[in-house]
């Protein structure tokens, strides 16, 4: 049984401090002009941890440090995160800075260095202002409150307009298990871990190996299925900490309620992924694409991402134009098996294409539908039985505005 703590605006109820034994903090360390720019998530005891990282060739320094920490024994007790500076393309000094950041955080919390993960997001190619970060770390005092979680959530944002968080509870071994997450993202969101940072906390009792397996499975269906502009970043990762304070029996694939946990993690990840897509730079709408009738889930996912990543589809949705021709073009552009005479397409409740031929529909009603804040496009390829979803956002004047002058 799965119960969502999530309020309709995702802004209330649970947060990363909701699972037992977690605390957080966030503050202004002087990296940004005014807003929070440094934060920490802290677990009272060492937590099983797993992460997935950007596939970009240029992985930033903090990712190396986090990998180094997790490889040691698969456990973490703290994640320190800064915004404003990505510490990417910073060479040897960047590596040294990221390790120094980890060391300082570990000393401040009196825990071993390898229990600390580091994450950074912001401008590439500039060195971290390490003194400001150290002074900021000294002031971080993690608390197990929703206010403290909010301080953290705001500290990780860059061009994001809204805080992204969610929280789910479930019963495992008759214990209440909570999974919560916080994320940042905005431009440059694409499959394979683009510019996003997602942090998930849970009090579930689970081994690092099983946690890693669950995370990989879930990431492929959630974070890797969103796109804002087809770009990937150097810094992104999804990191999960599970500290076992819920006192369920240790979760493995053989546990009778394994699927309950995986579904909770999937739901948490999907919530965050959709919030990231919805908050894409300049976006006014969330676009959800569902592809049915594909030969495999992988092909369904590929087609869904082609559609949701198409600039022409994205501008048509922005303009509330029920232009199914662009959806067809995007489908035809994929490598998936497609029968050119068998495709059905729905824009919201309106079927616009049947067996690849246009159906009459009310343009007016479709335009009205396309003005909603969430738009659903459904495609049936009619060549198999697999399905998948992907999420993205519309492409707007504001995307151009934000990105034509990001650094000025």
């Amino acid at each position: 049984m799965l119960t969502s703590h999530k309020a309709p605006e995702y802004q209330k109820a649970g947060d990363i401090t909701s699972p037992k034994g977690f605390a957080a903090a966030g503050l202004h360390a002087g990296l940004k002009y005014k807003r929070n720019d440094l934060g920490v998530i802290y677990s009272e005891t060492p937590a099983s941890s797993a992460a997935v990282y950007t596939l970009n060739h240029f992985q930033a320094a903090p990712l190396k440090v986090t990998k180094n920490s997790i490889e040691e024994e698969g456990k973490l007790q703290a994640i320190v995160v800064n915004s404003a500076f990505a510490n990417a393309c910073t060479g040897k000094q960047g590596d040294d800075d990221a390790f120094a950041m980890r060391k300082h955080m570990a000393q401040h919390l009196s825990i071993p260095e390898h229990y600390v993960a580091v994450a950074s997001t912001g401008v590439i190619g500039e060195y971290l202002p390490l003194d400001k970060i150290k002074t900021g770390i000294d002031r971080l005092a993690p608390k197990p409150t929703l206010e403290a979680a909010d301080d953290f959530n705001r500290a990780i944002l860059t061009t994001d307009l809204i805080v992204k968080k969610t929280c789910w509870t479930m019963e495992i071994d008759q214990k209440e298990v909570t999974i919560a997450g916080a994320a940042k993202g905005s431009g440059m969101i694409h499959p394979n871990m683009a510019t996003m940072l997602s942090f998930v906390t849970t009090d579930a009792n689970i081994s690092p190996q099983a946690l890693h397996q669950a995370l990989r499975e879930v990431t492929d269906k959630t974070f890797n299925r969103i796109t804002v502009d087809g770009e990937t970043s150097t810094n992104d990762m999804v990191l999960v900490m599970a500290n076992g304070h819920a006192e369920n029996d240790e979760l493995t694939q053989d546990h009778p309620e394994w699927e309950t946990f995986v579904e909770g993690l999937r739901q948490t990840s999907e919530d965050l992924a959709k919030m990231i897509a919805r908050d894409g730079e300049g976006a006014t709408k969330l676009i959800e694409v569902q592809v049915d009738g594909a030969e495999s889930e992988q092909e369904a996912g590929e087609v869904a991402k082609k559609i949701v990543g198409s600039d022409l589809v994205k501008t048509a949705v922005y303009g509330a134009d029920a232009n199914w021709g662009r959806i067809i073009q995007a489908i035809g552009h994929s490598n998936a098996k497609v029968d050119p005479d068998a495709v059905d397409i729905w824009i919201g409740p309106f079927q616009v294409l049947k067996e690849s031929r246009p159906l009459p529909f009310s343009e007016e009603a479709a335009t009205e539908y396309l003005k909603s804040e969430q738009v659903t496009i459904k495609v049936d390829l009619n060549v198999g039985h697999a399905n998948a979803k992907a999420w993205g956002c519309d492409l707007t004047y504001d995307y151009i505005k934000i990105n034509a002058s990001y650094r000025t």
Copy 2:
């Protein structure tokens, strides 16, 4: 020896009627509101012909007809083209209409049906207004003049702002050989034949097989190296007719001047490809990306296309922002072999990155450079010796404007 007839604005001098034995016509048949929408290219004698087609799964009806014609004996005498209607996603009736269009053109010119190719561009999913097209065909009277070529060139445009044409001459077997081309394109231009139609005429004497081979080789380095918005279309093709009126010895790979011909065809194709990229929807600038030091030409081409296709790079160029971080991200996003510590990047004359570390450069001077009409980005991967170029355009407010309301 290669001499360009091309004037700086591409608007003067040679055209598709410049090679000996070619004529053209274009007129308003009533498909568009006012502008030319129907045209023909005609060769006095059957010409060796070759074509490459879109890889989109949903190939439009006219492509089937053209394939059918060329397969018969590798020769064509006429290409009839309409704009405004793509005749794609039109099912069986669409096929019948395209064949009817071919038949009517053949009858009008008193040539066999299989000497006629058909091309269409415009809105998807609506049937051709065949009566108007037939009436228009009856009025087409091909002439070997530049004025007639211009009538044709304007008839194939959709959202294009400028006519695209070029012309080159070379000496083969001491005969003057001319190659000329006309093209349309605009949005949806991407590798693998996106929404573009390119027609090349030449009076070279060459077999259909050799012509096909030359075209494939050249297409991979030109038309398949441009991108406007990453989309591919259902209708695009590049079609070459070679009627032999230059009276050179038949060109094959063994001909001592084979490379001269291929280079002329490549130059003609590159001109058209760059004009298509430069005239991308809403574009204000042509972006040329050159990648050196790759492991293979294919990888160099992939990296170049990733950069020139990146929405973040495209908006940065629009905003005249020398943001090399976005170039790095695009490179890192490719599948090519990359050494994360070895990349050099130049924006115009300014080297901004050396061994993946930022170099000091004058932001002011770089911004001034980025305001030019043509922007060159050069990357040296320093992992091999292969290189390639790709072309695209900036992403602007006008792209959104055009595409958020294409059909209204």
